[in-house]
Symmetry: C2
Subunit: 115 residues, 2 copies
Amino acid sequence: MSFSPATRLRRQSAKTAPVFAALGDSTRLGLIAKLTNGAPQSIAALCDGEPLTWQAISKHLRVLEEVDLVSSVRHGRESLYSLNSGPIDLARAYIDLVSAQWDGRIERLKALVER
Amino acid sequence: MSFSPATRLRRQSAKTAPVFAALGDSTRLGLIAKLTNGAPQSIAALCDGEPLTWQAISKHLRVLEEVDLVSSVRHGRESLYSLNSGPIDLARAYIDLVSAQWDGRIERLKALVER
DNA sequence: CAATTGCGCAATAAAAAGGTTGCATGTCTG
DNA sequence: CAGACATGCAACCTTTTTATTGCGCAATTG
């Protein structure tokens, strides 16, 4: 079966909202930015420059991990965090759907008026 | 002057985080989905199907309006809400930057190891 | 092996988010 | 004009979020 874009949007909302919520904090976005630098990084490394305690940073990382935006691996005494692409693709797909709808809104408005 | 992608990401974080935060709620995502349908819609119309009071919906709309994801115009006794593309493009740009970094991470890792 | 480093976990505490109810007001409609 | 409708505004409550401090412990290091 096939669904209209609007319907697909609504069905995706529940899955995607938590990802957006995790992205909705400048500290966490900053952490993600750092994690794009390549190698997995420890909490201590990720704390560098942030005006927060490492515990706070650790909590933020756990928030990101809960929606699978990052993964952590224990390596000796440190936890190494790295970025996952899955949820990012999900968020991008949602935004693309909205944008696509946005781009078509003029035509739909015309169709609505002409009906 | 030109900046590295990672630097641009960090500079954009403060501006983009509030937009993601506004998107980080399934009710609000649902409202956005409805607003992609074309014509501007009243609060009453947007309440249709939602299991919340119109006051709650109104609050959600104000959250979206604060980050300019929607605009409202008074028309007689109703407030008509419509979608804005600006913040959506902003969010998309951020995600695209992260994705681009993600796609280049293998090369950067290699470069890091070879150094 | 003593000291340091890197973290996990728990207890608070303060602030923000999400919803509801109640009341007031301007706008249509019959 | 009376009544229904669509909202705005405010008070209030509950839950979640964000951040801190304090304690404990395994892994490293000199």
